[in-house]
Symmetry: C3
Subunit: 273 residues, 3 copies
């Protein structure tokens, strides 16, 4: 007998909702042996790129599992539904709208199939009626090719993850996520900080798009490097550039939210383009 | 050895709360083999009828499971606590305040027992101290009749689920639920739309009780049938009539919330009675 | 073969977040046999003492389990990371900042080890990178002493849980928690009510610190002892003194939130010091 199959679930349905419960119920009914794991359900509604980044992060912790991901603002349109086999033995199941691509790229896609939409009325709940059943079949050992029409995994839709705009003394990046503590995660990594020439201890400014108010922020390694209620920019535990306030809420202080652009600049402040 | 027992949990305790954790802990301690499934925990606080409809929907996905449901504004009063055996081999456990009736009706109740309230102080947490232990015993194979005093399952309390008021060119229905995306689910089905004479493509109006502002809405099959930000009325993935905005939030637009009445009417607008 | 290991999880990460998902994924990967239970994830952010009280309550339901708890505003500072063995066979894993002490005291600590911080960048996610792996190892049967440097469990940091200030006709206590229904749980027990001389049926006043408005409240045993929308003070299902409104929200009515002090006093009202 093989190991217990594992199914990860990631959605924008909201924690504790009936929609999440329906996925669990469908998977439990079709594959009772599966260990179902809630990876995240608080993805901002319809935010495919946030879901894509979270899926890549979390699926990396369970590379041999089947992950079903549903952030699907285009349900009912012509977007493709897909299942992707991974090099580590796992699989990804969900809409091919950019949600699966970073995880597939990180873990290595070896094959992909397009899933036929379930028959019936237009207002179908694809999570319950398509993606969860497919995930349960994969978890139960069904071969990928039995589930749909093969396509080249390299043709998957890529998500909208703009690279930061970096120059000397200046880094422009979009906000990816704001967490419960008000930490603001940017679409930028440590190499971008370095290219901008920002080093530990520098006092720079952070300005949110749509405002012209620069906020002082210290380039730091840890929260303890700044005074209580001081704002820092650091590389967070996911390897991304993030703004935080020691003992406070950075997002609230500067008015940051997903999709906004943040300009980090050396004083004197340059205006956001 | 038989299959692994499954226990579904549905409450209005709120996702991730200690109250939900307590139910899990009690069930895990008393029936370690059980696969516990969070069906929904975001039922609006004290909203028995919303819980009842969700339980009927979700229990149908796992008809052989034991489901413990707690939406219990009357805890500590004389309401009966019940366990109900289902035709499919499963059971329902919870307060007999209307919460269990639709699921029992849909799945077929074969027997019922009244559960004695736990002894001790008045401020008892019946979920933790009564319903979860009973669910664990049922999941572990205890016969229903060992758990309480039998009563006729037909005498269960029915929830307050008012039928819509339908006439030609006019449908009045209560709002059952508003989800995270702002979709507004009404206590009405496709047959009611048909009786009102509303068919696909019709442009009608939706007016919320307590306001006199009609909003334009298109009778549609899918979100894609209306322009972006357009409002539609359609039959949703649960077979219920629902209002939605393509790429937007219908509840916020029209000010809908559970318990309000919505009038769908053919233009020219008739005033809400 | 022994019983299936159980791992409880309690955090302030928020329900359904990627952070909770990461703990589950790490534990599932390292100890696939473990039954993981979400005890609570809605602890107010950084509220160590609320987390400590909840952990003590919930761990008592599963005394033989390994519980990983993370409410850790001091992550990255010099606070100790600990694993504590319990008399019942279970263990506690988390920051030694007061979070573990009440559960350890209630369940009996038999040994403790200090855990070395994971190597790498400062911005380490100790839940994912330290506490969850240690919990998984304990669940898998690793001996406590293999995980860190022993220390005397009696030297654990105690949380800030101020005793109530009680005199005749007067009880001052801090608010510990406000739940979803607006019930206000105080850091006081039934003996404190008794020492103040408050008995069932007394009509007294409740005043929140920072306001000078006394609200009428009845000392009661159950919600049904007061009129609908009436406020009561009672001993709740956790054995703590709590304010509640029958069919309403006590916290909203009086403006209570965690950390505020509430004065219960016999009319005529005495001013809050």
């Amino acid at each position: 007998m093989t190991a217990r199959p594992v199914v990860g679930l990631l959605t924008d349905f909201g924690p504790g909702t009936e929609h999440v419960g329906a996925l669990h119920a469908v998977i439990a009914a079709a594959c009772p042996a599966a260990d179902r794991i809630d990876l995240a359900h608080d993805v901002p509604a319809g935010d495919v790129r946030a879901g894509a980044v979270l899926l890549a992060r979390l699926a990396a912790l369970l590379p041999a599992a089947v992950h079903v991901a549903v952030v699907d603002p285009g349900v009912g349109t012509e977007r493709r539904a897909a299942a992707v086999a991974l090099a580590g033995g796992g699989a990804l199941v969900g809409p091919d709208n950019g949600l699966l691509a970073p995880a597939a790229a990180a873990l290595g896609a070896t094959a992909a199939v397009a899933l036929a939409a379930p028959e019936g009325p237009a207002a179908t709940f694809h999570g319950r009626d398509l993606f969860a059943p497919v995930a349960a079949r994969l978890a139960g050992g069904a071969p990928l090719t039995s589930l749909g029409e093969p396509f080249d995994p390299a043709t998957r839709v890529a998500p909208d993850l703009p690279a930061p705009d970096v120059a000397a003394d200046r880094l422009l990046a979009e906000v990816l996520l704001v967490d419960r503590y008000g930490n603001v995660q940017l679409l930028a990594g440590p190499a971008d900080l370095e290219r901008a020439g920002f080093t530990r201890g520098d006092r720079i400014s952070a300005t949110v798009s749509g405002t012209d108010r620069p906020h002082p922020v210290t380039v730091a390694r840890a929260f303890g490097d700044v005074a209580r209620k001081g704002m820092l920019v650091h590389v967070d535990s996911h390897g991304m550039v993030a703004l935080a306030v020691n003992g406070g809420d950075a997002a609230r202080r500067i008015g940051a939210e997903p999709g906004r652009t943040i300009t980090l600049a050396r004083w004197p402040v340059r205006s956001t383009p």
